[in-house]
């Protein structure tokens, strides 16, 4: 490790550390514009010049371009360096429009900071400034090119780091322009990062434009809960409303960046129709009355007639307290997943993720082979795609098994096979890497599984031919990671992926499995929902049978997910009590007999466990209450500060649930009212250990070092079913920004999502007489569903892929679960 001296202080840094970073470790912030640790050095701005006094380099050098080496003596305050930096900032300010009073970057602008710290005060220039025309870059990012200082951060991120090509540097010399060839929305779902990256105000947050000064924001660490990755954010609120979010560095999870869903999805919390008052029937009431009536009605019911439903979007606090309540009221039913298959898969995942198999997003970046099994990163977990691109840039091979016409911002090998073939394909790909002896170390079951792998049916010739070169890659790689979805991947594959990862660990330097889960807290939900035979299907059944008379729904909306909505509707109608706690204006909330408003993530401290078992905390950002902007009809400055009864604003779900539990069983003294964790710990042994979870900055992995679960116990699905003649298999899939529940209540996201679109293989399309861009019509029980069609030959045959899009009633197709007869598809293209 090189030792060097910066400003008379000695420091030892790891090999490959840039001098600028070495100084930062000492707390010396060398001015910079173009350098960004996430993007690397480029040497464009010349702002980080320091004087090298001794060592291999001499004189004025850019500290971002030079690796720290032994014996270097560096001065950051040398007169020559200061003078040079003063010149640079003077040059940069020559063309800047000085429009700080109306610039949203004002107050946290690097250019402002550097102008002051660089000592530039007097303008020695009277010439004309260069000016540009700004472009329309979509609804999320505002463009103001005149402010540009040409640090190239934007294009380096957009093109090199993220792999999209519609934004770039155009022209040369003074005319260099960062933009698109023509006006239009940025195509990348990571475009919002330009706002964070730009050291001045060229790219600013459009939805938050002119809404608040940065220094007026209530800011705090938060989390993105729109997918299972758990990216870290900083939320900024003003007047009881989150206005903008920025990426928060977490070196184990999202790094420096987040996707646009994470950045702009927050608006659900300020939805104008968000229910903010307790309600009995359609009558708004005070908290005390609502809770009392709820408790009273619950108390009148028998112990086994109450069921509890929550979801993967609820926090650990909500889930734990609901579980506690369900036990207290003697309920047999505590359900977090609507689909029994998903629940089963989640159980497998939670039991098989341990210190040997779990990997983080950072590990993905370091992998040299990524095998995707039924995972669609761009649609289901965008930041995963970005991590995969970094791996691929560093030389990794990416292989994706998926029937969908996948898109990734990097080169990859796509095996468009049906989900039933995942096991066979994965076996064929990896089996030659193992030998019986090594496998034997994992016991009998492993050998049995290995034998099953060896005996699996041959694949058809075309797939086999594509696999051959990949098998060699698998054999040669050192750090393979399997990326496995939990959506279209069958349970056997989900289980098998972990088994393979464990076996790979035996023969490779590092290996692991990275699951994409169906919700921000799916892991947490599975922890509580694990040892429980009940499913939502059985709950509905028991409601129909009259055994269950009350349903407590906490932060969950079954209407959104359950396919047979008519049946659900009939079942709920039979209930004596439907008690709903939520912060969304959902269908279920509208049907509630008693409704209790809860707080969104920004209004209460809450914890979530991401897909690798990392427990992370989002702090409370602002007080609950109707945003003043809404109350005062968007006037400025606001004159009206509130409506409704004081103290009537939403409460944290866990507090309400705990209060109900205590009222019902009269045991208030037992536990603290201000800390949900004793209750949570009581319900989940794993979490009990992390009671004091003001844990590390990067979150806390709660997975066991070695799982006690039985690996290699799953049965491989090696005999693919033959599809029915004249039928297409329906495959409802996630679609970027358009499927996720919270985002569907977020007005900003609704502005940018595309229209729904179905996919069909070109052979199937020909068979059905359909063409690309046709509008198709599917006959369902009570009418037709219309959707645009895209014909692709990069997908598996025999599938009609449909988006679970918020503007497409895919639930109505549940009657075709066994296959859609092609004659049901009509063409309504004029």
């Amino acid at each position: 490790m090189p030792r060097l001296t910066i400003d008379d202080i000695e420091i030892e840094v790891p090999h490959g550390t840039k001098v600028i970073d070495a100084a930062e470790r000492l707390g010396i912030m060398i001015p910079r514009f173009c350098y960004h640790r996430g993007l690397g050095s480029v040497g464009a701005c010349r702002m980080c010049a320091v004087k090298f006094l001794q060592g291999p380099f001499k004189g004025l050098q850019m500290s971002c371009m030079i690796d720290a080496q032994d014996g270097m003596v560096i001065s950051t305050t040398d007169a020559e360096a200061l003078d040079f930096r003063r010149h640079v900032i003077e040059w940069l300010m020559l063309n800047h429009p000085h429009d700080c009073p109306v610039c949203d970057e004002g107050g946290h602008c690097l250019l402002q900071d550097m102008t002051v710290s660089g000592g530039h005060g007097m303008r020695r220039f009277s010439g004309e400034k260069r000016t540009y025309r700004d472009q329309y870059l979509g609804e999320l990012v505002q463009h103001e090119m005149n402010r540009c200082i040409h640090c190239y951060r934007c294009v380096r991120f957009y093109r090199e780091f993220a792999g999209y090509r519609d934004l770039g540097a155009l022209q040369i010399a003074q005319k260099v322009y960062f933009g698109r060839l023509a006006d239009g929305p940025l195509e990348s779902p990571f475009a919002g990062n330009l706002v964070d990256l730009c050291p001045t105000g060229v790219y600013t947050d459009k939805p938050a434009r002119f809404r608040a000064r940065r220094w007026d924001l209530e800011r705090g660490p938060s989390l993105c809960i729109h997918c299972s990755l758990g990216c870290n954010t900083v939320a900024g609120a003003r007047y009881r409303e989150v206005l903008r979010q920025e990426a928060r560095l977490n070196e184990e999870v999202n790094g420096y960046f987040i996707c646009d869903l994470g950045r702009y999805g927050f608006a659900y919390a300020g939805h104008p129709e968000r229910p903010r008052s307790p309600r009995i029937g359609s009558q708004a009431v005070g908290w005390q009355e609502a809770v009392a009536v709820a408790c009273d009605r619950l108390a009148r019911l028998g112990p086994r007639s109450i069921a509890c439903l929550s979801s993967a979007r609820a926090s650990v606090e909500t889930l734990g307290t609901l579980k506690y309540l369900s036990k207290r009221v003697g309920s047999d039913h505590f359900v977090c997943f609507y689909d029994a298959a998903v629940k089963f898969k989640m159980g497998e995942i939670v039991s098989k993720l341990d210190g040997r198999t779990a990997v983080s997003l950072r590990d993905i970046e370091k992998a040299d082979l990524l095998i995707g099994v039924g995972a669609d990163p761009i649609n289901a977990a965008p930041m995963l795609a970005l991590a995969m691109r970094q791996a691929q840039r560093a030389g990794a091979k990416v292989v994706m098994m998926d029937p969908r016409p996948l898109f990734l911002p990097c080169d990859f090998e796509h095996l468009s096979v049906s989900p039933e073939l995942f096991d066979v394909c994965l076996s064929a790909l990896v089996k030659s890497t193992f030998d019986r002896e090594r496998v034997g170390k994992h016991g009998e079951a492993a050998v049995t599984l290995y034998d099953r792998m060896l005996s699996c049916d041959p694949l058809d010739a075309s797939v086999q031919a594509r696999l051959e070169p990949l098998i060699a890659v698998v054999e040669g790689c050192r750090r393979p990671i399997i990326i496995c979805g939990s959506d279209i991947a069958p349970a056997s594959s989900v289980s098998f992926a972990a088994d393979v990862a464990l076996l790979m660990g035996e023969v490779k330097d590092q290996s692991g499995v990275f699951y994409v889960l169906p919700g921000a807290n799916a892991y947490g939900a599975a922890l509580f929902d694990a040892a429980n035979g009940s499913s939502f299907e059985s709950v509905v059944q028991e409601i129909e049978d009259g055994a269950i008379k009350a349903l407590i729904v906490a932060e969950s909306d079954p209407f959104r997910y359950v396919a047979d909505r008519d049946r659900l509707q009939r079942a709920l109608n039979k209930l004596e009590l439907l008690l709903v706690l939520d912060y969304l204006p959902s269908e279920t909330v509208r049907k509630a007999h008693i409704f209790l408003p809860t707080r969104a993530i920004f209004e209460t401290r809450s914890s979530f466990i991401n897909q690798e078992g990392r427990l992370q905390v989002a702090e409370k950002i602002h007080s609950p209450g109707t945003p003043i902007w809404q109350v005062s009809n968007k006037g400025h400055p606001p004159r009206l500060y509130g409506t409704g009864i004081c103290g009537g604003e939403p409460r944290a779900a866990w507090r309400v649930l705990q209060q109900i539990a205590h009222t019902l069983v009269h045991s208030q003294n037992e536990i603290s009212e201000n800390d949900p964790w004793p209750v949570i710990g009581g319900e989940c042994a794993v979490l009990a250990r992390h009671h004091q979870h003001n844990g590390p900055l990067h979150g806390l992995r709660i997975i066991p070092q070695t799982s006690t679960a039985a690996f290699f116990d799953g049965d491989l699905d090696l005999q693919p079913k033959q599809p029915m003649d004249g039928h297409l298999t329906l495959l409802p899939v996630v679609s970027t920004f358009a499927t996720e529940e919270l985002a569907s209540y977020s007005e900003i996201i609704q502005r940018v999502i595309g229209s729904p679109c179905a996919y069909l293989h070109s052979d199937d399309a020909e068979r059905c007489g359909l063409l690309d861009c046709d509008r198709i019509r599917i006959a369902v029980d009570d009418g037709f569903l219309e959707i645009d069609l895209t014909v692709s030959d990069k997908m598996a045959r025999g599938f009609l892929i449909l988006p679970r899009h918020s503007r497409f009633e895919w639930q109505k197709l549940h009657c075709f679960a066994q296959g859609l007869p092609v004659e049901k598809i009509g063409n309504c293209t004029p």
């Binding site: 050095s41 464009a44 040059w91 540097a169 040369i172």
Partner: protein, 617 residues
């Protein structure tokens, strides 16, 4: 064409070509270089060819379009071999006469011969003309002699024999050693020892290595690389093949400037021909050695002549340079070891291999070996491309070869090294031109442009001209070059427009220092040179512009005052009538005067005055 499957095959082919040409009695060489081409050289070839066909004497006489002869001031040039008769400024109407008298007959067309200005004597033979006689033509010799689009012609003259020599037993290390002995230094301007570069590239780790030819010649007024690539593409390609063999490259690229379509055409044609003969591709000349090469046409950015920017552009990225702390010989094109040399450097290689490094090292000065091609342009009689040994005095280039300044004006300075080079003033006219001496004088070798300036040139205006070029052509990546040079240009423009203020010169110096210190690439670091070097030698002119608001060379119009000599003015009124601004007043037959406020310094009055009464103060 037949593929050559062994080294012997090449010699056999050469003999065959020579055999076929035995019947040729005379050969007419018509210059196809840029200068002659634009003067109508193409039509001369057609005319000669037509006559050959009409008379049916194609087997006895041969017309070839060669590359540049160098003497561009006298183009289009026609030379008839074997007598070496040199005809200058040939018009297409004169072709039948030349054909009749000098090709079919052995007579001369007197009025097309070169006339010596000193003695008034007519000179018949090309090599006797002083312009050629004082040069040392080695690298640039074949360009005017070979048929630029025919590989057979190149082979007949001994082409590819250096490659044959290398492949018939020289180890790569031996080739590198030979180049190191020759002392060849990069001709693109950097002057880095070529052999050392090759050696580092050979030693660099990597399966795939590249050789790259930098033909992105963007300096205003410089066109030697263009002449070489258009005229003798095979000489360049042969050099690259040898280089590729020496460093272990399997792929090569010729990065050619967008503005050189003919060079692209000829280079592509040459590559095709070489491929057909098996001089490129797998198993070259039947050996284990494999190499293929491609031409890439640039998009018109000056900066892409910088090696790292060129490589970025080749990769399809933004043509911008990167920091030099990662060497391209280790991580160049696509992050693989890459050896980039200039056209002239590559063209030197076959000669070094054939005649030995010692021979090459015997020419030139102690640290600058061999010869250098310069393009001598500007206020000089014999505009053209000249090749001289390193260390040749500037005086010899300007006067003996260049024929001095037209109109008997005084020599003021010569600008060398392209836009970011510097000016060498009159007092250094005896400077021995090589890498070191030019650098010492505050200029640089660059790619070899020489712009000669006479007493009518304003040095501040010259600095402004070159700064303007650099402002336009900065890639825009780093701040000092993008903004700093623009700022310098604004200050110098102010000087030329009479808007300068005291302290501006010091401000310029401050900018020069800062930009030189910390621009990202070589171009940026040298961008202040036009100002730095003119300030060094012509500070008095700057002072005159700033302090006295006066342009000593009478170039900067806003600083000029037009006045009427009361003695000479007859009051004819012509100037008053012609003045577009109505700035001249005066009654008939009385002395006129100019209203300085209205005068736009267009100079129409001077042109029109029959009495020479109007002058510039």
């Amino acid at each position: 064409m037949k593929r050559l499957n062994s080294i012997e095959d090449l010699e056999v082919l050469r003999q065959q070509i020579l055999e076929q040409r035995k019947s040729i009695r005379k050969r007419v060489r018509i210059c196809g270089g840029p200068g002659c081409h634009s003067g109508g050289g193409e039509r001369l070839i057609e005319a000669f060819q037509k006559l050959l066909d009409e008379k049916g004497v194609g087997h006895e006489y041969m017309v070839t379009q060669t590359g540049c002869h160098g003497f561009c001031a006298r183009g289009p040039i026609v030379v008839i071999e074997p007598a070496n008769i040199f005809y200058e400024r040939v018009k297409v109407e004169r072709v039948p006469e030349i054909f009749e008298r000098s090709v079919l007959g052995d007579d001369l067309v007197d009025d097309l011969l070169f006339v010596s200005e000193e003695t008034g004597e007519k000179i018949v033979r090309e090599k006797d003309i002083p312009f050629y006689a004082h040069q040392e033509r080695i690298i640039f010799n074949d360009t005017g002699l070979t048929w630029s689009t025919e590989i057979d012609d190149y082979i007949a003259r001994g082409g590819y024999s250096a490659l044959a020599k290398v492949l018939s037993g020289m180890k790569p290390e031996e080739v590198i050693e030979e180049v190191k002995i020759s002392g060849l230094r990069g001709r693109g301007g950097g002057g880095f020892p070529t052999g050392v570069k090759w050696e580092s590239c050979r030693k660099a780790h990597g399966e795939m290595k590249y050789v790259i030819c930098n033909a992105d010649e963007g300096d205003p007024g410089a066109y030697m690389d263009r002449a070489l690539l258009e005229g003798t593409p095979h000489q360049v390609i042969e050099g690259m093949i040898i280089g590729a063999y020496a460093i272990g490259a399997r792929e090569g690229y010729l990065y050619c400037r967008y503005e050189y379509p003919l060079a692209v055409k000829h280079a592509n044609r040459a590559l095709d021909q070489a491929r057909e003969y098996g001089l490129l591709g797998d198993n070259i000349l039947g050996t284990e050695f494999c190499l293929d090469m491609f031409v890439n046409r640039g998009a018109g950015a000056f900066i892409c002549g910088e090696s790292t920017a060129l490589m970025a552009s080749l990769e399809g990225k933004l043509g911008e340079p990167r920091g030099k702390h990662i060497h391209t010989v280790e991580k160049g094109l696509w992050n693989r070891p890459s050896n980039l040399n200039n056209v002239e450097s590559w063209a030197s290689v076959p000669l070094i291999v054939n005649q030995g490094g010692q021979w090459f090292a015997s020419i030139g000065t102690e640290r600058s070996k061999g010869t250098k091609i310069f393009s001598v342009v500007g206020k000089i009689n014999n505009t053209g491309l000249v090749e001289v040994a390193m260390g040749t005095p500037l005086r010899k280039i300007v006067y003996d070869i260049g024929g001095g300044i037209p109109g008997g004006k005084r020599f003021k300075a010569v600008q060398t090294g392209g836009p970011s080079g510097g000016c060498v003033p009159e007092e250094l006219i005896d400077l021995a031109v090589d890498f070191e001496q030019l650098k010492k004088a505050g200029s640089m070798m660059g790619s070899g442009g020489m712009i000669v300036m006479d007493e009518d040139t304003c040095m501040v205006d010259v600095a402004r001209y070159f700064l303007n070029f650099l402002v336009q052509e900065s890639c825009g990546k780093c701040v000092p070059c993008r903004v700093g040079v623009k700022r310098m240009h604004e200050i110098v423009s102010n000087m030329c427009e009479g808007k300068a203020e005291p302290g501006d010169i010091e401000h310029l110096e401050e900018l020069c220092d800062t930009i030189q210190e910390a621009a990202l690439c070589g171009l940026g670091k040298s961008a202040p040179n036009p100002v730095a070097s003119t300030l060094r030698y012509f500070r008095d002119e700057y002072d005159a512009h700033v302090l006295e608001k006066r342009c000593p060379a009478k170039v900067c119009k806003p600083l000029l005052t037009y006045e009427i000599d009361t003695e000479k003015c007859t009051g004819c009124g012509l100037c008053r009538l012609r003045c577009p601004e109505g700035a001249i007043i005066g009654a008939k037959k009385e002395c006129h005067c100019i209203d300085e406020e209205l005068c736009v310094r267009c100079g129409i009055c001077i042109e029109n005055c029959k009495f020479g009464a109007i002058y510039i103060e």
